[in-house]
Amino acid sequence: VSQIHATNIGEVATGFGPDPLSSVWETESTSLAVAYFNEFSEPSSRLKTFVEQSVSSGSGRLQDVHDARINSIAQAALHRVTTPDVSTAVIKDRWEGVVEQVAKDHFVARLISLTEDAPPIVAEFDREILNPDDEELVVVGSRFYVNTGFVPTGSNRRRKVSAVRFRRLPPWRAEELQAAMARARKRLDALEFE
């Protein structure tokens, strides 16, 4: 799935694809964009340039539609691209997590492996390990991704690395909320609850 989404983002970057903006929007996840950056080094430089231009110039295809949302994706993606360590990391395992309980110093989450057919697990995370930007995202129900892998450290050695990143989603739009409420009313009419 991440490859398909990443390809959509790549299509936007290179200007291909039938409806590139909706493709970007449908990914709704900077983590997938980050996965793209991590895995495809050659296209990522093009995408990086594209995102940088879109953000800095305030124009371009990404800027034309849904600018606030795309900007939030682009800003987050850009932040990750410019983080030095990640560019050389080789990701071996990925999990998707959902926060189930939040305490002052830690949170409890349910994790599902995205790379193996392993049973779901529950794990506890200290909030200290999070990026300061992610702190406000730690609420029950929020999604995050855990990547583990290694970074080559020279002389044929490598270091185990891990990263926790919360999913960033753009703000809700009034039209979306109104449309959801209209669909809900229609559905309830059709269901005819006694």
Partner: protein, 392 residues
Amino acid sequence: VILADRVDPSEFEISILGPGVGECIVVHLGGGDWIVVDSCVDQASRQNAALKYFQQIGVDPAESVRLVVATHAHDDHVSGISDIVLEAQSADFVCPAASTEPEFVALLELDAGLLETRHRIYSEFQRVFHLLEDRKPGTYYGVRRKRAVADRLLWSRPAQPGWQRAAVTALSPSDHAIDLSLRTLRFLMPKAGSSPRQFASRDPNTFAVALWIEVGDVSALLGSDLLKGPGPSCGWNAILANPQRPTSDASVYKVPHHGAPNAHHEGVWTSLCADDVIAILAPYRAGRQRRPSLADAKVICSLAEQAYITAPSSTPPLGSASRAQRWKLSDVASGVREREGPTGHVRLRYSLDRGGPWRVALGRPAGSLCEDPPPPRPRKRRRRRHQKGRQA
């Protein structure tokens, strides 16, 4: 282990299955009439526990299930319930009144719009509603969809020769609980421009549907996750203050909210349960505080004649795949555990012809809540036995 011996048509049965993702109660009301309350999916086999049980005992859910009840929209109660609705084609569907309000259904719509790889909070309810849209009353598979509110009779069977009267009644939510739930839903509904774009919290347990089941003179109380309150007009407080509440005593009580103190009300035990009540429950292992705790178990055992749990609330040992995950996550996470472990089965059967007592059968890892854990097995003394053999 899910038990597999068939039920006699003259038997009243209450089975609780869990943990998996969820807990599930399957009830035989005699005469081949079944109801399913909530749902559970075994994490190892990924099978729906209730459907597996029906398959093992030769019951066709399409023909025999009269009612499917989703007591509230939490994962640990409704995981896999859409599969039960899919199979139980002639069963009426019951859900809490607040979950049939536009605010709740709009949350389903918004949740479905979030493209996810795996997780989704409300996907089970979303799928159930999709399935029900195709089963309109008056069509071949027409089924009724009912809102559960306090004192509502959800299903009944009149007494007939050879068949005793049976009835399933909702004891909650009260009117005030519905109002509170709606207020919470409106609060949960995101506002335009708000971020992050995810649901900050889940709907409350104030929603939950407690059920009173009667077959002949025998009654059972299924507590769902109903809390004590909040306040005098919600939860168990409201049920106990209701002059319309049942006057007979339940001989089986499904302890609410996995034995947590916020759902414990001593009045339930003294006013709604028989002195020799049998308590049944499933554990909750997701949080740091697993339920029932030792203190919770002590309280339940002091009030119930017998108490059975589908599995210990302690964490099951990690399998090899989970041990590997623990190692990989060791830099960032601690306390890695499998939440569900194998699904256990507590089954109670009561002969409506001959009368009591309830006969209890347990499928591993189910056990008695009140008995001390068995002492550790003595370590095998291999060398000595080996030497003995040599001497022989």
